[in-house]
């Protein structure tokens, strides 16, 4: 099966769920999908042989675009599902409910871009520091670096829990 046959199969099975199909070249297909259909399309691609390589996110002005990239290795084709999380709510259905491989990448997008994934099995913070303030998303276009104090928590002078016994080096 090659790219065109795969696209025709997707068209047949998913039909109206896919808003737009863009064939970039012999190996790449981009499917644009509305947010309410994203879970169904992702599930379909996963169940029909696609391997989630990664997911990426971009902050467009009024929405956050989240792309899931599926590799169909025997066919040498990569299919990308582009969905939008419209601001200000920025909500999307979590694909991690379908397969656990999407767990960490969705947490990362959530940390850095602020796209909320509904029903995520483990929506904890992943890669930002523990004391990073909530609601500040560094990879958004309106993130101001200077306005944000970046030094974080320091160890206090009497934080040490040790007693220095001998001072041979001073003697």
């Amino acid at each position: 099966m090659n790219r065109d046959q795969l696209v025709k199969q997707i068209d047949n099975d998913l039909g109206s769920k896919v808003a737009d199909v863009f064939r970039r070249n012999a190996k790449r297909v981009y499917l644009t999908v509305e947010p309410e259909n994203s879970l169904a399309v992702n599930r379909y691609l996963f169940e029909h042989g696609g391997r989630l390589a990664t997911a990426t996110g971009v902050d467009c002005r009024d929405w956050i675009e989240v792309c899931y990239h599926y590799c169909f290795d025997p066919l040498n084709v990569v299919v990308t599902v582009k969905t939008r999380a419209y601001k200000p709510a920025c909500e999307l259905d979590s694909v991690a409910t379908v397969f656990p491989g999407a767990n960490f990448i969705e947490r990362e997008i959530q940390d850095l871009l602020g796209a909320k994934f509904l029903n995520h099995p483990d929506p904890r913070r992943l890669i930002l520091a523990d004391d990073w303030p909530e609601g500040v998303y560094p990879l958004r276009k309106d993130y101001h670096h200077e306005a944000h104090v970046n030094t974080g928590r320091a160890v206090s002078p009497d934080h040490g829990r040790a007693r220095v016994l001998s001072a041979l080096r001073r003697g």
Partner: protein
């Protein structure tokens, strides 16, 4: 019976001699390791530099640690090795002066450094220290039995005696001709590897795994004492092995002296080569190895010795 002055003199001379020998053997260990790995190793004064540097660092005691146990454990271990070394040197240089049961005393004293590791690690108030201490405890329970059992053929061959002097002076079957002695020697060699805390049995101090295990919180002078204790154990355990199971050290003839030195160096080199060619094993593998592998072999050695001694 020696007077107090002579005893203290013997103790100090044995302590100093074993210290020098231990530091030299530590260098031999690192140099042979380097040669096996096609490297140039450290210079001959490296262990001395290590100790000098450690004595110049500050001693830090964690606030939640049990201070007395933490600081006293290395010293107690060090003292135990020093006394055991004195007894062994005394037995080798003057076999008539050894007392009944001195083999038992030496074996007993040589368990104390390992127990000191357990106490020190447990007193560190550090989870890594606790893991290291528990591993060392399990290891002690595993290798002590085959170690002692493997020495029984030598005791039997020396005429059912517990005196080191008798074991050395009684003409007994040598390790090359007697199956019991050879088996006992091999078992004892592997137990010595575990006692010294060398790979494949260094899981109590696993560097890459538990950040130094029982030694994780030590620094400065206590760490220097631990370093010296391990150096002296490295010197003393082969002395014990050769004394009990391989005929001892005889410095009265030139040939005997050369043979003694060669025996000792051979044991050290075999230990270092085993250390460099094996990975570290898990603690449960080590326990199975000692309980189900070496202990039956040691029992077999005892049985062979019994059979051989009652014609």
């Amino acid at each position: 019976m020696m007077n107090l002055g002579a005893m203290i003199g013997v103790l100090l001379v044995a302590f100093a001699g074993t210290l020098v020998l231990g530091l030299a053997m530590k260098w031999v260990d690192r140099k042979v390791t380097a040669m096996v790995q096609w490297r140039v190793g450290p210079p001959w004064y490296q262990p001395i530099a290590d100790v000098a540097k450690l004595l110049g660092k500050e001693t830090i005691v964690p606030q939640n640690a049990r201070r007395t146990g933490f600081l006293l454990a290395p010293v107690v271990g060090f003292a135990a090795v020093a006394v055991a070394a004195a007894i062994l040197w005394g037995a080798n240089l003057n076999p008539r002066a050894s007392f009944v049961g001195d083999l038992i005393v030496v074996l007993y004293l040589l368990t104390i450094p390992s127990l000191a590791v357990v106490v020190g690690g447990a007193a560190s108030s550090n989870p890594h220290g606790a893991v290291g201490a528990s591993r060392e405890m399990k290891l002690i329970l595993s290798y002590e039995l085959p170690l002692v059992l493997a020495m029984v053929p030598a005791m039997i061959a020396g005429g059912w005696t517990l005196r080191l002097g008798d074991i050395m002076t009684t003409p007994s079957p040598s390790v090359w001709t007697s199956a019991a002695m050879a088996l006992g020697f091999v078992v004892c060699l592997l137990c010595v590897q575990a006692k010294l805390g060398l790979v494949p049995f260094d899981m109590a101090e696993a560097e890459t795994e538990i950040m130094g295990g029982a030694y994780v919180e030590y620094s400065g002078a206590p760490l220097a004492v631990i370093y010296l204790t391990r150096a002296m154990m490295l010197a003393v355990m082969p002395i014990l092995l050769v004394t009990v199971l391989w005929g001892g050290f005889h410095f009265d003839t030139v040939g005997g002296a050369i043979a003694s030195v060669l025996k000792y160096v051979l044991v050290i080199v075999v230990t270092v080569l085993v250390r460099n060619t094996n990975p570290r094993v898990r603690i449960d593998h080590a326990m199975k190895f000692f309980w189900f592998g070496l202990t039956p072999l040691a029992v077999l050695a005892v049985v062979l010795a019994l059979v051989g001694s009652t014609p």
